[in-house]
């Protein structure tokens, strides 16, 4: 009985031993790592079939709209077809590994299975056209892609992120605010 009575004290004793803290600490670290990697996987750039170097291409003076021409007139910006890539690359020596991958796709006449980086949930109907029409630059939403190699997602690009910008642009204009914060603008 007496021994049982000391349960609390034994717990207290246990708490004084280093092994307890080591085990607890390890467990916490593991848990946090799990959560962290889960969140990271949401925000990290996905692996792409080939490491497309945005920086180089932009540096060569190629406009965003050359490869993503949908942005200025429709909802989806679009990804370039293999034929478009090959249009330029067939005129050069493709020595880098990424270029080799492109060559393989182009020779096989297959499409490159890109993994989209900036994606929204399926119930969000994003349309590029009005954003470009409103004078936004690609960098406003996509970040400094021109300094990145493989495109990187922007963390926490969520509804509040969209709304902040919408509200800012509609500041003082009641009608515009109504349109830009209307649920049906993005959800249908």
């Amino acid at each position: 009985m007496l021994q049982r009575l000391k349960l609390l004290e034994r717990l207290q004793n246990l708490a004084r031993r280093p092994i307890f803290w080591i085990v607890t600490g390890l467990f916490t670290i593991l848990l946090a790592a799990g959560v962290g990697s889960g969140i990271r996987s949401m925000q990290a750039p996905p692996p792409q079939p080939l490491d497309f170097n945005h920086q180089v291409h932009v540096g060569l003076g190629i406009q965003c709209l050359y490869c993503h021409p949908g942005a200025w007139r429709q909802a989806a910006a679009g990804l370039p077809t293999t034929a478009k890539c090959w249009g330029c690359h067939q005129q050069m020596a493709n020595t880098k590994p990424a270029q080799q991958v492109l060559v393989a796709y182009a020779m096989a006449g297959e499409s490159i299975p890109w993994v989209p980086v900036f994606i929204q949930p399926d119930f969000v109907y994003f349309n590029h056209r009005p954003h470009i029409a409103a004078g936004l630059n690609c960098e406003n939403c996509h970040g400094e892609i021109s300094r990145q190699t493989v495109a990187q997602p922007i963390p926490r690009q969520n509804m509040g992120w969209c709304l902040d910008c919408h509200r800012g642009r509609a500041a003082g204009d009641e009608q515009m605010l109504a349109r830009l914060t209307d649920c049906a603008t993005c959800h249908r």
Partner: protein, 174 residues
């Protein structure tokens, strides 16, 4: 400074307890060095003790004010953060706001009352304390500090008044 010792006197009934307190006071133990421990809520008036000060009502008032403010934020502030119109009703309709204000005021009041008990009574505290399990069996204890030299005299006086036991109080694990 004199040496002080903490004693716990146990009584069966209310009347001897009251008398004992009176006696202690006469023996020079001030009220603030005494405490009564009992198994039922014995009011201070029964024993002729000074009235206990409680912060609980104040905390309750403060809590209800806090709750009211939170309610006011939810009712009047939140709709302005993202104005969404529904059913042709005003953005901030008064009658529903009253409901929100009421509920949050009451929530604030009750939660702060509860917390007030914890704060005022220093709950929870699991440190060893001077206590005897007989108290929850209906005995009334007087916990007091007395100067070393008066100890024998006081014990004798209390025993005379009907104390079941007067012993140095030992802090023990409850």
């Amino acid at each position: 400074m004199e040496e002080h010792k903490t004693l716990l006197a146990l009584f069966e009934d209310l009347d001897p307890t009251a008398a004992a307190i009176e006696r202690l006071r006469k023996l020079g133990i001030p009220d603030d060095q005494m405490n009564v421990i009992s198994g039922i809520p014995v009011t201070e008036a029964m024993l002729g003790r000074p009235r206990q000060w409680s912060n609980v009502p104040r905390l309750a008032l403060g809590g209800s004010l806090g709750g009211f403010l939170v309610g006011a934020f939810l009712a009047f502030g939140a709709p302005l953060l993202y104005p969404i119109h529904v059913g042709g009703q005003a953005l901030i309709p008064i009658p529903p706001s009253i409901v929100v204000l009421f509920e949050l005021t009451m929530l604030g009041m009750l939660v702060s009352t509860f917390i007030g008990v914890f704060l005022d009574s220093y709950f929870p505290s699991y440190r060893p304390k001077e206590y005897l399990p007989e108290i929850s069996d209906g005995k009334i204890g007087i916990l007091f500090q007395c100067p070393q030299q008066k100890q024998a005299q006081i014990v004798l006086a209390l025993k005379k008044l009907g104390a079941e036991s007067v012993a140095p109080a030992e802090a023990r694990q409850l």
